[in-house]
Amino acid sequence: MTYHFDFAPIWAHRDLLIAGLARTVAVSAVALVIALLLGIVVGTLAAARRRLWRFAATGAVEMTRNVPLLIHMYLWYVGLAFLRLPPFLCAVLGLAIYSAAYVAEIVRAGIAAVPHGQSESALALGLTRFRTLRFIVYPQALRIVAPSLASLFSQLIKDSSLASVITVSELSFAASAIESDTFRSFEIYITVALIYLMLVMAASRLVLLLPGAHRPLLRVRFADA
């Protein structure tokens, strides 16, 4: 092997990497919030008793998550180009809607895992349907799905790398820029891979800070599908 390692050019471009990291965190955070909100609504509908709601929600989830994320991003960036949305927003929308389908599936499974007697007792005690969900079903479901949510969160961060394809200057974009500037391809891509790895590990720990999620029923896995 005649390759000489040289990390100095990477260090010289650290400002690009830091800016890219900040952009990656921003895309992921905004997309995560939207995905959680959207996913909770759709997932609750998918667990509803009305068959119409169930079919509609499940159909939407299947349609969304069986299409590649890259196509979701192109849809906003190229397909709806006449809207002239900024690339950042296109990436966030594509990532959020794609991930919302996975959140919905997790939420549906979580609600289904809470014993039926729980919501029946709550309704019998006179709680409204909304309050039953809010105070009885969701808190128990959250504990059950906390590990899956942690996986989803780290998946979302990794997926955000595709935003570079539609010119969002996040971490992967910075990596490509530095690579074409310095030709230190091995050093830069290994560095960026390790940054992602640390980000993903930190993020999966962060999910456990959610109220009620600190004692999950299952062991936490930080990078599951």
């Binding site: 994320l69 192109y74 190229v78 599908a225």
Partner: protein, 216 residues
């Protein structure tokens, strides 16, 4: 079918063929790699097991795009060979999917009761035979749903190969769009194509699991 699709159909079908061959190669290679990695880790082979654990954690914490960049730009620079886009993508997908499949099979291995191993050893089988004849078949059956999940992800992920210049379905579609500019029609068509492919794989997985997966 819209005129723009019809006119470019042979080109798009070529892309679809490349997508499917990339996915098939990666599924076969990734499954083989995953089984070997899971088996070595299960057996607790000295030195190899912790190294493979590090490989799995690295792959699962890194975006696919970066893995493809490493296989296309970094590894050839490091080892001094010239990579084709298709070759690099195949290698990247095998390494990437292999790590996820190794974890799925590990879960399947963990689900095989200890008593089975003890019974196998007590009846005079060698440890390797116990793994090959008793533990792995059960683990693989239990892992069928998760394996097919990975295959579905793989088909979707092949779209990322267009970024390093593989002319699969997404790359071809964007080329067609650059020439004929009908973004919504073209994107909707390939989205539907992926949807059909992924649904068929899910369906195949469910059928296979119904045949093989139920515990005897």
């Amino acid at each position: 079918m819209p005129e723009v699709i019809l006119r470019n159909l042979p080109f798009l079908l070529q892309g679809l063929a490349l997508t499917l061959s990339l996915a098939t190669l990666a599924a076969a290679g990734g499954t083989a790699l995953g089984v070997v990695v899971a088996a070595v880790r299960y057996g607790g082979v000295k030195l190899a097991a912790p190294l493979l654990a590090a490989y799995v954690e690295f792959m699962r914490g890194t975006p696919l795009l970066i893995v493809l960049f490493i296989c296309y730009f970094a590894l050839p620079a490091l080892l001094g060979y010239k990579a084709s886009a298709f070759g690099a993508a195949t290698l990247g997908f095998i390494l990437f999917t292999g790590a996820y499949i190794a974890e799925d099979i590990r879960a399947g291995l963990a689900a095989v009761p200890k008593g089975q191993i003890e019974a196998g050893l007590a009846s005079g089988l060698r440890p390797r035979e116990v793994l090959r004849l008793i533990v792995l078949p059960q683990a693989l059956r239990a892992a069928i749903p998760m394996l097919f999940n990975q295959y579905v992800r793989l088909v979707k992920f092949t779209s990322v190969a267009s970024v390093i210049g593989v002319h699969e379905l997404t790359g071809d579609a964007m080329l067609v769009n650059a020439r004929d500019f009908a973004p919504i029609t073209i994107l909707a068509t390939i989205a539907a194509t992926y949807l059909v492919c992924c649904s068929l794989i899910s369906l195949a997985g469910r059928l296979l699991y119904r045949r093989l997966g139920a515990p005897a």
